[in-house]
Symmetry: C2
Subunit: 341 residues, 2 copies
Amino acid sequence: MGYPIGSDLVPVLKQSEIEQVVLALLAGAGVPRDQSRLQCDLLVDAEMRGLPSHGLLRLPRIIERIANGVTDPNARGDCDWVSPAFLRVDGKRGLGPVVALNALDAAMPRAREMGTAVVSIANSNHIGSLGFYAECVANAGQSVIAFSTSEALVHPWGGRRALIGTNPIAIGVPGAPEPFVMDTATSVVSMGKIHDHAARGEAIPAGWALDADGVVTEDAERAKQGAIAPVGGAKGYALGLAFELLVSGLAGASIGRDVKGTLDSTEVANKADLFILIDQPLAAFDAYLDELRNSPPADGFSGVRIPGERGRALRAERRQGGVPVDEGLWAQLLRLQQEVV
Amino acid sequence: MGYPIGSDLVPVLKQSEIEQVVLALLAGAGVPRDQSRLQCDLLVDAEMRGLPSHGLLRLPRIIERIANGVTDPNARGDCDWVSPAFLRVDGKRGLGPVVALNALDAAMPRAREMGTAVVSIANSNHIGSLGFYAECVANAGQSVIAFSTSEALVHPWGGRRALIGTNPIAIGVPGAPEPFVMDTATSVVSMGKIHDHAARGEAIPAGWALDADGVVTEDAERAKQGAIAPVGGAKGYALGLAFELLVSGLAGASIGRDVKGTLDSTEVANKADLFILIDQPLAAFDAYLDELRNSPPADGFSGVRIPGERGRALRAERRQGGVPVDEGLWAQLLRLQQEVV
């Protein structure tokens, strides 16, 4: 642990140092080596790409869930080809990335053979940032659309109660020099960002969330008990609801307010994941992305960004220069490691 | 033609009267009976569901395109199963709904057999409202995700030029008593709506569009020459761009500003369509939709709506009570019919 930059309250760590601690903690919780590597890669990748809400922050809960028996550290999931191109997966309460990557390993050769394959996962734990999987698949030369459902945190357009998941989508498209990978929720903002504002005592913009009474609030603390707005109003609501019905429906998983187990330490996770893989040649798009990058910026902007590229650049930078990690969180992880040893 | 309601400037027509005129016009343009029925159903359904921008308004251009030789009224498209579950379709410049419905007819039995099937369409004309296809497929018991690309009308987030299509998505999920069907663009509003405002001399809200210089405008007339905003800012931009790369890329179709042929009468259409069909049992969702409908409305709203239901209710009502049609448009269609006979 070392070389602070900017604020010396922020430890800047080498990727390998972080991985060592994460792997030790997972091993201490009883996760076999192969499995812990996958969970570790997912969390550290989010940290490297500047998505701390999907990074190390999640680790203490993952460990608690194993201790509480609602996550099985040994399970890799049961894969059942119920149709030639449709893989139904019972995650057997396994770790989210272990079950998902195991299923994708089974599905990708089938997608190559069939042109496409669909993977529906139930009974598996939090899958983390969908962009991680989209990038894996696209790097291997297949197009992918990835979905996951979540606890009900989002209000329907025109409503005031949290009834729909943040229901993210990621899309990966193979290309040179790098694949295109985007990843977004169907909520206007993540609950993690609202918690960040609350922790810093900052207000949130009107339009992000309603309070527990369903009234627009700029108080992040009150928003934590309320509901996040769907992105783009009626359109994001329609999209998030469609994902909820399709993804949960295919998996036979829970829906709406019945979804539990990705934000707590005691409930069996009953959300669902869906991957659509397409293995077909694609037209090149690098010249078009250049046209976007080089197009004139709007007032108040410095340029047009390509989704996914900022995170990728940050990751490359942090591989060299180290990864800033929240001080309190890092101290917590080191304490946990002391307990394990 | 008869029984005006509200304004007597709006003719209220029976569905069958409208269909008769549409079928006569298509027959006059040389469209064989089977093909004209599909094109007619698509346009009239949009009119019935309250989407006039995708309805009869499109008919004069469809006829002009046939006259100009850029649409082939006889083509149904060539279907090629390049992989067991991936159907590549060369539309052969056929009418959009003729090619798409013909391809879906081929793909649905395959999706039943394989669990899923993907259809990629190039060289076909404007496909109209994607919700029409999503409802067809969902009514037949399969889940579907439908995409189509368009001319570049939308600016990237942070940019000022129109470089991306409005790139809509529709999702249909089978259910009882009715399937769930949603349909939305990745732009904040359609160019049709901006044209409507311009025609009425009305301002548009700030945030809908930029003018030709890339500056925010509330002048609908200036917005027609400019660029529409992506829905939800960076998120809708990422989604629309992903659809553009995936849908056009798989079809080997044109991309960005090279896309032509759905808004003009002289260019060969070079956009793309994509359908993902999934044939698997699904959990019921009617109780959940009831929970949404019966949840308390937010301030300023009268209730929570389920996407697609307003259009379906309007269609049922109009089957009984008739369909109000724009007077100028109807007069134009009747004049065209006189020329044909």
